[in-house]
C-alpha cells in the first residue's frame, strides 16, 4: 500500500526531479518498470536499472547534479542533501535498490526467510498489496534475498556452535528473530550436541551424581527465585496504578517498596543478632512497670519502655551457658563449668553485639545505597549532558504500560501540549519581555523565596523553643505528645505554603518548578531534624541528670518513636481528609470535575523523612524498623486507594528516571549520611547513661568494642595480630592517604578515557556524514549517467 502510494508520488515528483535536470515528460506505465526492473535487477543486482526507464526525455546531458569539487555550498548542503535523498525524488528502480541497501534491511532480514519460503510458491505480480516491502515482486528477487539471509542464518548457527550452551542460549534469546525461527536455529546449532543434555532423562550412570547435584541446585535456585518474584510485593496493584497513571506515580510506589525492603533487612539483622538473644534472656523485671493502657502504644512509655523495643532493656552481660573453670564472677556462679570436650555456646557479649550489629547494618546499607545511586546516575547522566534530546524524547515518550482509555487520552493531550510548547518556543525563540515585566517577575521570585525562608526559620525556632520549654519544665511526662504533634503539623502545613508560592511565581519550565519545591521541602525537613538532633545530642544526652533522667537513650528512643507515629497519624488524616475534602470542594463548590494531582515530590520527601527518623532511632530503639515496616505497609494501601479515588494524573511530564536518581541521591546524601554521622557521633563521643543499657559504666559506646577486642586478643592469637594490623593500618594516616591517592588516580584515568572516547565519537560522526555524502554523490551521478545513456539509446 505504502509502496504504491510512493509510486504514484514518484510519478508526479519525478517531473520536478527532472525539471532540475532540464525538463521532461512524466513517466508512463510505472508498474511495468517494477516488473522489468526487478527482472533486470536479478541479472545484475549491483547496477541501477535505468534501461527501461522511459520517463525522462530531454535531460540535460551536460548537467550532472553534483560535481565532486567546487560547486557544493556547505551551508545549504545539509538540507539540500537531505531533501534529495528523500524518496519521492528518485525513480522506482532506484528506490527499490535503495531500499534493499544493507543499512535499511538490517532489521527485517531476519524475518525474510519465512516470507520468502512461503511466497516463493506464488509469485506476486500485482504491486498494489505490499505493506512489507520485501514481499517479493518476482520470485527471482526473493530467491536472491533468500540466499543472502540463509547465509546470515548459517553465520548465526556457526557462531552459536562456538559458544557454551548457556552463552549460546543467552545470545539466541537476544537475537531479534521470531520464536519459530529461534527454535529452528537452536535445533540446527545443537544438532550435533547430545540433545539429551537438554530435556531427556537418559543419563549414563557415571554422570548421574553430577547431574543430580546440578539439578537439585538449579531447582533450589528456581524455588528461591520464584519465592523472591512472588515476593514481588504488590505486583498487581502496581500494575493497576501504572495502567492508569503511568511511570511517574509508579515511581513513588516503587520507592516505597524499596524503603520497605531496607527496613526489612534492618529488622532481620537486628532481630537475629540483637533482639532474639536478649529476649531469650530477659533482664530482671522492674516491678514499677505500669499497667498496659492503649496510650502507651502511642507514647512509648510505661510498659513499652521496659520492653525489648528500647535501649534500656538491653544488659551489659555476656550470655553464656557455662562458665570458665577459673572464673569467679558472681553473675555466672550458678552455671555449670564448661567442659572443653562437650559443645557449648560461644559466649555472646550483648554490648559488643549491639555495637557491631548496628555498625555492620549501617555499613551494608551504605554500600547498597552507593551502588544503586551509581547505577541510576550512570543511566541518567547522559540526559544531563545533552542540551536537548528531542528525537530521543519523542521515541521514548509513549508509555506503553498505560492501558486505561481515559489515561491514554490524557497522555496524548499531555504529549501534544508539550510538543506544541516546544515548537512555539523554537519558532519564536525567547519572548522579548519588557524590562518592567522582568523586574516584576524578579520581585515576585525574591518575595516568594524570602517568604519560604522566613517560614522555615520561624518553624525551626518554634520547634527549638518548644523543646527548650519542654526540657526546662517538669520532666517529660505530660507534654510528651506536644512536640511530635507540632513537628508533624509543621511538616504538613508548610509544604502547602510552598506550593502556593510556586503557584504564584508561575515558573516557565515545569521541571524547574519541581526542583524548586523539592529544595524548599528539603530545607524545611533538614532544619527541623537538625534542631531535634541538637535537642537530643546537644542537650539531653550531655546532661541527663539535670533533667532528671536516668536513661536518656530510652528517652530519645521514645521521642523518635513518637515522632514516627505522629507523622503516620497526620499522614493518615491528611490523606483521608485532605485529598478527599479537596476533591469534594472542587466538585461541589467550584463545580469542576478536576481532581487534585498527586504530588509525587512531596510524598517522596515525606518517605525520606520517615526513613531518616528510623535510621536515627535504630541505635536507641532496635525494633524501630519494625514500626516503620508496619507504617509503610499501611501507607501503601492507603495511598493507593486515595490515588485511585481522588487524584488524576498530572498534566506535566514527569522525567521518571531523572527523578528516581534524584530521590535515591536525596535518600543517601542528607538522609542516610546525616543519620550515620549522628550515630557515629553518639557512639564515639557521648557518654552512655550509667544505669541502663548495654554500655553502662563505660566512657563511650565505642569503648565496649575496644574492650571486647582486648578480651578476645587475650584468648586468641590470631585476633591479636588482626588488632595489631588494624591499629597499624586504619589508625595510621599514611595508609589512608595512600588509599585516597589510589582512588583519585583511578578516577582521573577514567575521566581521561571518557574524554578520549568523546573525541572518537565526534570523529566517527563526521566520518559517517562524509560517507553519506559519498553515497548520495554516487547514486545521483549514476542515475544521471544512466539517464543519459538511456536517452542515447532509447530502444533496447
Amino acid at each position: 500500500m505504502a509502496y504504491s502510494v510512493n509510486i504514484s508520488q514518484t510519478d508526479s515528483d519525478s517531473e520536478s526531479d527532472f525539471e532540475d535536470m532540464g525538463g521532461s515528460k512524466p513517466g508512463q506505465g510505472t508498474f511495468r518498470f517494477i516488473r522489468e526492473s526487478a527482472a533486470s535487477t536479478q541479472r545484475c543486482p549491483e547496477s541501477l536499472q535505468m534501461d527501461d526507464f522511459r520517463g525522462c526525455t530531454g535531460a540535460n546531458r551536460e548537467d550532472l547534479p553534483f560535481t565532486a569539487s567546487g560547486h557544493m555550498r556547505d551551508e545549504t548542503l545539509d538540507t539540500g542533501q537531505r531533501k534529495s535523498l528523500q524518496r519521492h525524488h528518485w525513480s522506482a528502480a532506484t528506490l527499490k535498490v535503495l531500499s534493499s541497501m544493507p543499512s535499511r534491511t538490517a532489521g527485517i532480514n531476519a524475518v525474510i526467510p519465512k516470507y520468502a519460503r512461503d511466497s516463493s510458491q506464488q509469485p506476486q505480480t500485482s504491486s498494489h498489496d505490499s505493506s512489507h516491502h520485501s514481499k517479493p515482486i518476482q520470485a527471482d528477487f526473493v530467491q536472491e534475498q533468500m540466499e543472502e539471509t540463509s547465509a546470515e542464518e548459517k553465520q548465526l548457527v556457526s557462531n552459536l556452535r562456538g559458544l557454551s550452551v548457556s552463552e549460546a542460549m543467552r545470545k539466541l534469546r537476544a537475537t531479534p528473530l521470531s520464536l519459530a525461527d529461534k527454535m529452528r536455529v537452536r535445533r540446527l546449532a545443537f544438532r550435533d550436541v547430545d540433545e539429551s543434555s537438554f530435556i531427556s532423562r537418559n543419563i549414563p550412570c557415571y554422570r548421574r551424581l553430577g547431574v543430580y547435584i546440578s539439578r537439585t541446585w538449579s531447582q533450589c535456585l528456581f524455588i528461591c527465585l520464584s519465592v523472591l518474584t512472588s515476593l514481588q510485593l504488590w505486583h498487581s496493584p502496581m500494575k493497576i496504578l501504572s495502567g492508569r497513571f503511568g511511570t511517574g506515580v509508579l515511581s513513588y510506589f516503587l520507592f516505597l517498596r524499596t524503603l520497605l525492603l531496607f527496613n526489612l533487612f534492618l529488622f532481620i539483622i537486628n532481630g537475629l543478632f540483637l533482639v532474639f538473644p536478649q529476649a531469650v534472656n530477659p533482664p530482671p523485671h522492674d516491678p514499677h512497670s505500669n499497667n498496659f493502657t492503649g496510650l502507651e502504644l502511642l507514647t512509648g512509655t510505661g510498659y513499652l519502655s521496659q520492653s525489648v523495643m528500647f535501649y534500656g532493656f538491653y544488659t551489659n552481660t555476656t550470655l553464656t551457658t557455662c562458665r570458665a573453670a577459673n572464673s569467679n564472677a558472681t553473675n555466672t556462679a550458678d552455671l555449670p563449668i564448661c567442659d572443653p570436650h562437650q559443645p557449648h555456646m560461644v559466649p555472646y557479649s550483648i554490648p559488643a553485639a549491639y555495637l557491631f550489629t548496628i555498625a555492620i547494618a549501617f555499613f551494608i546499607i551504605c554500600i547498597i545505597l552507593v551502588y544503586s545511586m551509581s547505577k541510576s546516575f550512570g543511566r541518567s547522566v547522559q540526559v544531563l549532558k545533552s542540551n536537548r534530546n528531542l528525537a530521543g524524547n519523542i521515541f521514548c515518550i509513549w508509555d506503553f504500560k498505560v492501558s486505561k482509555n481515559t489515561s491514554v487520552r490524557l497522555q496524548s493531550e499531555k504529549i501534544s501540549t508539550q510538543l506544541k510548547e516546544l515548537m512555539s518556543e523554537l519558532t519564536s525563540g525567547e519572548d522579548a519581555k519588557s524590562y518592567t515585566l522582568r523586574l516584576c517577575r524578579l520581585m515576585v521570585h525574591v518575595l516568594a523565596w524570602v517568604t519560604c525562608l522566613i517560614s522555615i526559620v520561624l518553624s525551626a525556632m518554634a520547634v527549638h523553643y518548644l523543646s527548650e520549654a519542654c526540657i526546662t519544665q517538669s520532666p517529660f511526662k505530660d507534654t510528651e505528645l506536644v512536640l511530635p504533634a507540632v513537628v508533624s503539623a509543621i511538616n504538613l502545613l508548610l509544604p502547602g505554603l510552598f506550593n502556593l508560592c510556586t503557584w504564584v511565581e508561575n515558573y516557565d519550565s515545569p521541571s524547574v518548578c519541581v526542583y524548586v519545591s523539592i529544595f524548599r521541602n528539603l530545607m524545611l525537613k533538614v532544619s527541623i531534624i537538625g534542631v531535634l538532633c541538637f535537642r537530643w545530642l546537644g542537650r539531653i544526652a550531655v546532661e541527663p541528670v539535670n533533667h532528671g533522667l536516668q536513661c536518656w537513650e530510652n528517652c530519645v528512643g521514645q521521642e523518635l518513636y513518637r515522632l514516627l507515629l505522629m507523622d503516620f497519624v497526620f499522614t493518615v488524616l491528611y490523606t483521608f481528609l485532605g485529598e478527599f475534602l479537596w476533591r469534594l470542594f472542587f466538585k461541589q463548590v467550584l463545580k469542576r470535575n478536576r481532581k487534585p494531582v498527586f504530588d509525587i515530590a512531596r510524598n517522596v520527601l515525606e518517605l525520606i523523612y520517615g526513613q531518616t527518623l528510623t535510621w536515627l532511632g535504630v541505635l536507641f530503639a532496635p525494633l524501630l524498623p519494625a514500626v516503620q515496616i508496619l507504617k509503610l505497609f499501611v501507607l501503601f494501601y492507603m495511598k493507593k486507594s486515595s490515588v485511585l479515588l481522588n487524584c488524576q494524573a498530572s498534566r506535566q511530564p514527569w522525567r521518571a528516571s531523572q527523578m528516581t536518581t534524584l530521590f535515591v541521591f536525596l535518600l543517601f546524601f542528607p538522609s542516610y549520611l546525616g543519620a550515620a554521622v549522628s550515630v557515629i557521633y553518639t557512639i564515639w563521643t557521648i557518654k552512655p547513661s550509667t544505669e541502663c543499657g548495654p554500655f553502662r559504666n563505660l566512657t563511650t559506646m565505642f569503648h565496649s568494642g575496644k574492650l571486647w577486642v582486648q578480651q578476645l586478643e587475650s584468648s586468641n592469637t590470631l585476633l591479636f595480630w588482626l588488632s595489631k594490623a588494624y591499629d597499624f593500618l586504619v589508625e595510621n594516616p599514611l595508609f589512608l592517604f595512600l588509599v585516597n591517592g589510589f582512588f583519585l588516580i583511578v578516577i582521573y584515568v577514567h575521566s581521561q578515557v571518557v574524554d578520549g572516547q568523546r573525541t572518537i565519537v565526534n570523529r566517527l560522526q563526521k566520518q559517517i556524514e562524509n560517507e553519506g555524502k559519498d553515497k548520495k554523490f554516487l547514486i545521483t551521478n549514476l542515475q544521471a549517467l544512466y539517464e543519459r545513456s538511456s536517452l542515447v539509446s532509447p530502444n533496447r
Binding site: 531500499s99 516491502h133 534469546r173 537476544a174 500494575k239
Partner: protein, 189 residues
C-alpha cells in the same frame, strides 16, 4: 510444532522459557489469556492463529495507538493480516517484558514505528508517529507547520549520515541516550 490450546507441555514450556525473556509463570499466564481469546472449536486445533481484531480486545492493547502496528510487526502470517499464533504472542510479550535487552526493545520499537515497512523512518513514518502520539482529536494534532518543524528537528538530531531518513543504527544510537526508553517500552499482562 504447535501447542494445543488445552495444555502446554513441560518440554515446550522450558523451551519457551529458554528462548524468550519471560519466566515460567509469565508464559503460563500468557497461555491462559491467549486461550481465552480462542473460540470453542479453535481450542482443539494446534497452532492457532488468532485474527487481529480479537487480539486487539486485550485490555493491554485496546487503547494503545500503536496496537495495529504491534500486531503486524509480531505476526508471522503470510497474509499480513496481523493475526498472531501463541508463539507470536510470546514474542510480543518477551520484547515488551522487564528483562528484555535494550537491543531487542529498540529493534522492535523501530519496526513498530516504521509504518511503511521499508527499513527506515522517513518523513512519512515520523509524521504518522507524531500523529499517533498526539491523538485523534483535531485540537491535539499539530499543525502542518509545527509538524514540519518537528520532523526537521528530529532528523537534524538523529540523522547522522544525512540521507533524510533514520535507519536502525541511528535509531538505536538515539535511544541509547534516553534512559526512559526501557521503562516506557513495557507491557505486562
Amino acid at each position: 510444532m504447535g501447542t494445543t490450546a488445552s495444555q502446554l507441555g513441560k518440554d515446550m514450556l522450558s523451551e519457551y522459557q529458554e528462548l524468550t525473556f519471560l519466566t515460567k509463570q509469565e508464559i503460563l499466564l500468557a497461555h491462559k489469556r491467549f486461550t481465552e481469546l480462542l473460540t470453542k472449536d479453535e481450542k482443539d486445533l494446534p497452532n492457532n492463529r488468532v485474527p487481529m481484531e480479537r487480539i486487539l480486545t486485550l485490555p493491554e492493547l485496546k487503547s494503545n495507538p500503536f496496537r495495529k502496528r504491534i500486531c503486524n510487526v509480531f505476526s508471522t502470517s503470510e497474509y499480513k493480516d496481523g493475526g498472531l499464533t501463541f508463539e507470536d504472542f510470546l514474542d510480543l510479550l518477551s520484547a515488551f517484558s522487564d528483562s528484555a535487552t535494550l537491543e531487542i526493545k529498540s529493534h522492535y520499537a523501530f519496526r513498530i514505528f516504521d509504518f511503511d515497512d521499508d527499513g527506515t523512518l522517513d518523513c512519512g513514518d515520523l509524521e504518522k508517529l507524531v500523529n499517533c502520539l498526539t491523538g485523534e482529536t483535531d485540537d491535539t494534532r499539530l499543525t502542518p507547520e509545527e509538524m514540519r518543524q518537528l520532523i526537521n528537528n528530529i532528523l537534524e538530531e538523529s540523522d547522522i549520515d544525512k540521507d533524510g531518513t533514520v535507519n536502525l543504527s541511528e535509531f538505536q544510537h538515539v535511544i541509547s541516550r534516553s534512559p526512559d526508553f526501557v521503562s516506557s517500552f513495557k507491557i505486562v499482562l
